[in-house]
């Protein structure tokens, strides 16, 4: 517990130093594992598509004494299709009948009303033709494609193509995870889910952009020094913006969580719940990917750049020279994982007292 408290305090002081970049292969592995699981889950279990995609009807009734199983019987008898009935927090029922078209769904409302003994006018009905979901999905794909293209262009201009590429990969990664979670858990996919999914786009990138912005700044004068390689700078910058990333994610998740649990608790499944669920999953994935995937990817891509290769060479040469002189600069990999003096984004170079402050805190 004290360790956790310690981590909290260090986070507060902005002095965490985890070597995300050096351990990137671990996180790439984790991500690849998650992605494979997601794809397998998608292939094996598939997505549980809501009636909006299959065509059908959802009826929400006011408070009723009829039990869910009885209502299911009534609905199935009347419709000749499978029905799913859930009890809502309001005491009402949510009756979902799939495989209907909007025409036949209309008369079903009357039969259900009669069956569970509530006035027809108090029943809320959502009737969906089978091609409606297809249309929504098509639009969603278009939106996804357009957004990705625009955002890659924008990021390539605002930052550089490597960052744009890394951000895009992180984005696809988030979407895959989210879809995978839906496949594995079996949450229902509705237009609300699609909305949420599309919103993740913007949000996932928000975090990534915050991190990249810090990185861009830190790396500005990188070729003018010989202390750090690009990867090390990237890692420092990442650690520097870590608090920010965590805070923005927590703050973004809090309202969504409110939405998820209140929307869900109050009304059972519904639009609020659908949007917030996919947002919740996607936001968490987005925060993870911006830290563990996007930045290490940028570092990887950057290290292939001849300039950065040359820098790495110079840095390593200097370190080798220093070590042979017996002057331990404390900048081997082990020590580098602890960056005690507030790894502020943008700080290139040490600021003295490294050894002392490390001791103080241990």
């Amino acid at each position: 517990m004290s360790r956790l408290g310690n981590l909290g305090a260090r986070l507060y002081r902005g002095e965490v130093g985890y070597d995300f970049v050096a351990k990137r292969m671990l996180w790439y592995g984790v991500s690849i594992l998650i992605t494979i699981t997601a794809i397998v889950g998608l292939g094996v279990r598939g997505l549980n598509m809501g009636i909006e995609f299959k065509g059908g009807a959802v009826y929400t009734t006011p408070e009723t004494t009829v039990s869910a199983s009885k209502a299911e019987e009534i609905a199935e008898d009347a419709a000749g299709h499978d029905a799913i009935v859930q009890e809502l927090g309001t005491g009402g029922l949510r009756i979902q009948v799939s495989g209907l078209d909007t025409k036949s769904a209309n008369s079903l409302k009357d039969e259900i009303a009669a069956g569970i003994d509530v006035p027809v006018k108090d029943i809320t009905a959502e009737l969906v033709g089978p091609s409606w979901g297809e249309q929504i999905a098509n639009k969603a794909w278009t939106g996804l494609a357009v957004f990705m293209i625009l955002v890659v262009i924008y990021l390539a201009i605002a930052f550089e193509w490597r960052m744009a590429l890394a951000a895009l990969i992180a984005l696809i990664h988030d979407l895959t995870i989210t879809v995978g979670v839906y496949a594995l858990v079996g949450f229902e996919v509705t237009p609300g889910t699609v909305i949420g999914l599309l919103t993740i786009l913007g949000y996932s990138l928000y975090d990534t952009v915050v991190v990249f912005d810090g990185l861009k700044e830190s790396a500005k004068d990188i070729t003018k020094q010989t202390r750090y390689t690009y990867s090390e700078i990237a890692n420092r910058s990442l650690n520097g913006t870590l608090v920010r990333s965590i805070n923005t994610t927590v703050v973004a998740l809090l309202p969504v969580a409110g939405l998820l649990f209140i929307g869900g608790g109050f009304l059972g499944a519904g639009m609020l719940n659908d949007i917030s669920l996919s947002l919740f999953v996607g936001l968490a994935a987005g925060a993870y990917s911006s830290i563990f995937i996007a930045t290490p990817l940028v570092a990887d891509l950057k290290e292939r750049d001849p300039q950065m290769k040359a820098l790495r060479k110079r840095v390593l040469a200097k370190r080798a020279a220093a070590t042979s002189k017996g002057e331990d600069t404390g900048r081997d990999d082990e020590a580098f994982t602890e960056v005690p003096e507030g790894a502020t984004a943008g700080v290139v170079g040490p600021r003295g007292r490294r050894g002392r402050s490390t001791e103080n805190r241990r």
Partner: protein
């Protein structure tokens, strides 16, 4: 997203923070004032929150007419659907185009949804029916019954309707209740002529004589049933076309039955007693409003297909021999008489024209109606959502509670983490909330913005986006303090870089919202709109409220001295005392412009 050019120099904006704050306060007061002045103090609620029915229709292109789904046809369809829905007596029904091929129909609660669905979804019905009787329908309630009763009284006698054999007598009875001037005027203004086509002059004499001898029997068979006719006569007598409810109630007659209908003539409602439909709207091949170059007047040209041409020849042949108003036929669209031209002579050959006191618009409108047989496109019902007002209210409540809880959680987190600084964040969130609410309320009447459930959801999600900007800025300030700066320089030095990050990330959010808004359909747009709006407002609030407030408070005691509870306590932040030799790190000393 244009960023206001502020804070060009980190410490140069001494006099500005007050001005910026004043500006945003004025904006808030103005918006709030505007809200109360316009009387729209709450955002307009969407159907899913207020209750009602939403029908989404998708235009379907007929095979071989793939380019039929175009803007003109969509707009015509919207016009027709709007007329139909509002013909139900609903004033607030909304018909909107969404995307390129969808039409959304919003019908507020308290309307007969089933009827609305029937009206909206089906292709409109266009029929040509012979006119039996016409009467003026007075707007005042007692009047029509007075004028109707004389016509009702003689009707049983006339009910066998030997109209063809004794046209004169029938004529007198029919025209008696209605001021003859109207009928005559109508007959004169809307006259049906032979189209000046070569085929028209071909066999006029042969056709009428044939139809004359054959047709009376089939035409009379439905109306010769005395009981049905008496009922119809009574209905005709009681009909008051000035009442929209009554107009709606008489729609939907079967084509094979005689019926009553209403129609407007020069702003005056007239009621019609009509025979069974003789020609179907589907039999019209083409129709258009054109300018007659010789006479210099607007007319409507009609062209029938083979089947229609045959039937039209018959009906005109029969009608031409009768006297007014029985020589008229009514063009009935969706149960309403749009025109009732009289027939002078039989019109064979499938081409005809209607002339009268048309202007360009009325001629073209009628042409459109005739040629499209009603809707220019066929539509498929994509989804129908009916929400009871009770459930809508419940969902709104759930959304608001969720929002309040989300906001509370964010506030708690900010207070715990940022202590005194959270005050600035909370005030900024408050400003943001006021701006969002007032703008949403004002957008209702301005652009028809309606707050639906996804929009509420978007607003809640936006709390996070808005708070994110403060976090970015606060963390920047704290970074500066960790490096050993005192608060005032930290506030100024942290700003340019925080501003940059906020703008870049807000731009991405806004881009996502904009793309979502443009490409999506249905409810998603509300979500995207709210998200986009709040993202923009976030930029405004951060620039004009948070930053200036921070600058001012940094001068004060509590924050200025970096009180332990201010969230800026250097000790707690693990700050380093300023060290000269770190100056060599050029990145740090010169705050860079974004």
């Amino acid at each position: 997203m244009a960023a206001p050019k502020k804070g060009r120099r980190p410490s140069g904006g001494q006099g500005r923070p007050g001005r910026a704050l004043a500006l945003i306060l004025i904006a808030m007061v103005a918006l709030t004032g505007g809200m109360f002045w316009s009387g729209h103090t709450t955002p307009r609620l969407g159907i899913d929150l207020a209750g009602g029915t939403t029908i989404t229709l998708k235009a379907k292109a007929q095979p071989g007419q793939e380019d039929a789904v175009n803007e003109t046809n969509m707009n015509t369809a919207i016009g027709i659907i709007e007329r139909r829905v509002n013909g139900l007596g609903v004033q607030e029904a909304e018909v909107q185009k969404q995307g390129t091929e969808n039409i959304i129909v919003n019908i507020p609660k308290g309307t007969d949804e089933e009827q609305a669905r029937e009206q909206v979804g089906t292709t409109a019905q266009l029929y040509f029916r012979p006119v039996m009787q016409i009467a003026l329908s007075e707007p005042a309630a007692p009047q029509p019954s007075a004028s109707g009763s004389p016509s009702a009284a003689p009707s049983p006698g006339a009910s066998p309707k030997p109209s063809a054999s004794t046209p004169g007598g029938q004529d007198e009875k029919a025209t008696a209740p209605s001021p003859s001037a109207t009928t005559q005027g109508r007959a004169l203004t809307d006259a049906l002529r032979k189209a000046p086509s070569p085929s028209a002059s071909g066999g006029p004499s042969a056709a009428p004589s044939a139809s004359e001898s054959q047709l009376p029997a089939p035409a009379l068979s439905p109306s010769s049933d005395p009981t049905a006719d008496a009922g119809l006569q009574a209905k005709f007598a009681a009909l008051n076309c000035a009442d929209p409810k009554q107009r709606a109630s008489i729609k939907g007659a079967k084509p094979a039955d005689a019926t009553v209908a209403c129609g407007q003539n020069g702003g005056v409602w007239e009621k019609y007693l009509l025979g069974p439909a003789e020609v179907d709207g589907k039999d019209v091949d083409d129709a258009a409003g054109v300018l007659d170059p010789e006479r210099g007047i607007w007319k409507v040209q009609l062209e029938f297909n083979d089947k229609g041409a045959k039937k039209f020849t018959e009906i005109t042949g029969r009608l031409a021999t009768q006297s007014p108003p029985m020589n008229q036929f009514a063009i009935v669209l969706d149960g309403e008489v749009v025109s009732a031209p009289s027939v002078d002579s039989p019109i064979p050959g499938g081409r005809a024209e209607i002339s009268g006191s048309f202007n360009q618009k009325s001629a073209q409108d009628l042409g459109n109606m005739l040629s499209y047989g009603a809707l220019p496109l066929s539509f498929e019902e994509q989804s129908v959502t009916t929400v009871t007002a009770a459930l809508g209210g419940e969902q709104l409540r759930a959304g608001l509670i969720a929002g309040a809880i989300g906001l509370a959680l964010v506030v708690i987190y900010l207070v715990v983490y940022y202590r005194g600084l959270s005050l600035i964040a909370i005030l900024s969130l408050g400003v943001s909330a006021v701006l969002t609410y007032t703008i949403m309320s004002l957008l209702g009447p301005a652009i028809g913005f309606a707050l639906n459930l996804p929009a509420v959801c978007g607003a809640i999600v936006a709390i996070g986006i808005t708070a994110d900007s403060f976090i970015v800025y606060f963390e920047r300030i704290r970074d500066e303090i960790r490096e050993g700066r005192t608060l005032r320089p930290a506030v100024e030095r942290g700003w340019p870089r925080a501003r940059r990050t906020i703008l870049v990330s807000d731009f991405v959010s806004f881009l996502a919202a904009a793309v979502l808004f443009i490409v999506t359909v249905g409810k998603v747009q509300g979500f995207a709109f709210t998200l986009g709006l709040t993202t923009l407002l976030d930029v405004v609030v951060v620039f004009f409220f948070t930053k200036p407030l921070m600058t001012i408070l940094a001068r004060g005691k509590f924050f200025g001295r970096q009180h332990p509870w201010s969230g800026l306590d250097p000790k707690r932040l693990g700050a380093q005392p300023p060290l000269r030799r770190t100056r060599r790190v050029s990145v740090m000393t010169e705050p860079k412009e974004a």
